[in-house]
Amino acid sequence: MNMIRRVYNMLSIAVVMLAMATVVASCGGGGLEKAVKKAFIDGDTTQASYEKICALIKENPKSYAEFVTESGDINVEALGKYINEVGSSLRPPMKWNITGYGLKELTLTVYFERSGSMTPYDTPGGGGQLKKAVNDLINFFPSKDGVKINIVNDNIYPYSGTVDSFLQDRNIYESTKGTGNASYTDFKLIFEKIIQAQKPGNVSVLVTDLIYSPQNTADVSIEKILNEENSVATSIFKTYKGKSIIVNQMMGDYNGQYYPYNGQPFAYNGKRPFYLIIVADASTIDRMSADDKYAKFLHPSAVKNSYRFNQAQSELNVKVVPDWKDNVGRFRVARDEQNKLIDCEGDRETGILCFTIAANLKPLNKDDAFLSNVANYTVQSQSGFGITIRAISPDDITNNNRTYLDGMTHLITAKGKFNTSHDELSITLANQFPNWIKESSSTSDTDSSVAGFATTTFGLERFLQGIYDAFSAGNDTYGKIVIKLEN
């Protein structure tokens, strides 16, 4: 009897232990969750990792039915939502934008200006920088099949050759001679036609000297022309608030006749600026900015200056790097609130608190010189924190910090005397009409011997100011980072 009782008691204990083990085991994550977490933790939020996750779903579509469409494709939207739910459960909360992976390839339409003042940019004796820039644009666009080329001056005319013949053409202006009327360029007509012809997923690029040269300007004052140019620009773009425009300024050899606004044409041999104007839906440019495939297309190596019009304030992905060589004093990253530091305490001897934030500034689509220039940032805090900023280099990435630096581009180090119980550090990158446009603009182009002729464009500022005014409402900030501090 005792034996039976003992066996019964031991079985009872075994049942209790089994129940405990079941509770413990039931809380584990599935294979998909593990794969997503691994990508985040390993700092490997790349397309290759995404493909592995997709393969896992496709191996077992019944188990992951919510991520598979009726046609058997991956439901990118549902998967993206799930991935970011998993990411938000991690420390620090992490994001992974996969929307670009499953989308159709973009298409490119090149509008190559063929006015009288453009042909000297591509003479047999010149350096051919303009043609090289356009060729690079086409070559670095990921989908060559979706490329179309048009010639523009008084109107838009399809290029009669193929993309390959365009790329190989050593004298493009000679082979397109007789296309349209090269004596003037109607920007209003051209921009409106470009925008109206643009379908979703299309990127248009106008290759131009951006010199406003309408018909019948004889005896019209410079001021009147510049005001007209400014109004034309605003009137074109104010009705297309969903578009974004990137103006890339480049320099090229110019060998030939120059046609000033008001004066006799004269021969000029030297450097002159020209422009690649990228026009697309703002969402399309955001997508390209976040996708490395388009990096060389958006940032050609020969670009001297660049500015994107109609850039909405981006939600910046930032993470405080908890264990960093520059850290001074003590702090702890709050678990319940992102971008909040608790238990903050300055160094015992100096009172200085120093911490580093990793930020992904790639969506801003700015070059590193701009992003790493601390003068472009406005820093506000009660304690008078100052910042330094620099791009992340491969040497910065270690086993222990790769989770924090994955997908990030810059390190912002904040330093100051933390002498209050609460503080809020606000770092703002202002979106201002850039100085380079003012510096690259002239109001007279009748004399090539004037200083700055080689680096300025007649009426550039007024035209681009017109575009800026069309889009400027509410777009005065590229991005803002706020870090809360508590002692």
């Binding site: 009872s12 209790v16 413990v24 086993n399 222990n400």
Partner: protein, 146 residues
């Protein structure tokens, strides 16, 4: 008999609560920037807590039902078993954590964390002992007589 079952149920509930609140409990004792994030992200806290519970209950069960001898029914025999559990469990946990955090360089923090886990192992072993001792034929009076 009913009182003994209540002890068993309380012990089981406490152990499950330990597993549920493992992150809060472990981080209340040892919380380090970076290391604690990765312990949380990789799910290592869950495995460490599960191992701690399983080993404490398992070693207590071995003492009361496998050893279960009058030769080993003194309080210091039980204390020796607690000592074995408190050394063995952190060693196993250290190996498991090191596996979870493969690719990271947190060996000092891993060792310190495993050291702190001695506390949780000892407490869980005591809870397990007082949950299951009552049905042991020779050691039910250990460590404290009924």
């Amino acid at each position: 008999m009913r009182d003994k079952v209540i002890f068993l149920v309380i012990g089981a509930v406490l152990s499950v609560l330990f597993w549920i609140f493992r992150v809060e409990l472990y981080e209340a004792v040892y919380n380090v920037n970076g290391f604690s994030d990765q312990m949380y992200n990789t799910g290592a806290y869950g495995s460490v807590a599960a191992i701690t519970i399983a080993m404490a209950w398992g070693l207590a069960a071995i003492y009361y039902y496998v050893i279960n001898s009058v030769k080993f029914d003194r309080w210091y025999h039980w204390l020796a078993m607690l000592g074995i559990a408190s050394v063995l469990t952190p060693v196993v946990c250290y190996i498991v954590i090191d596996n979870f955090l493969e690719g990271f360089d947190y060996s000092t923090s891993e060792f310190t964390f495993a050291f702190y886990n001695i506390l949780f192992t000892a407490v869980t072993f005591v809870i397990a002992s007082f949950s299951i001792r009552w049905w042991s034929s020779n050691c039910r009076h250990t460590p404290i007589p009924q």
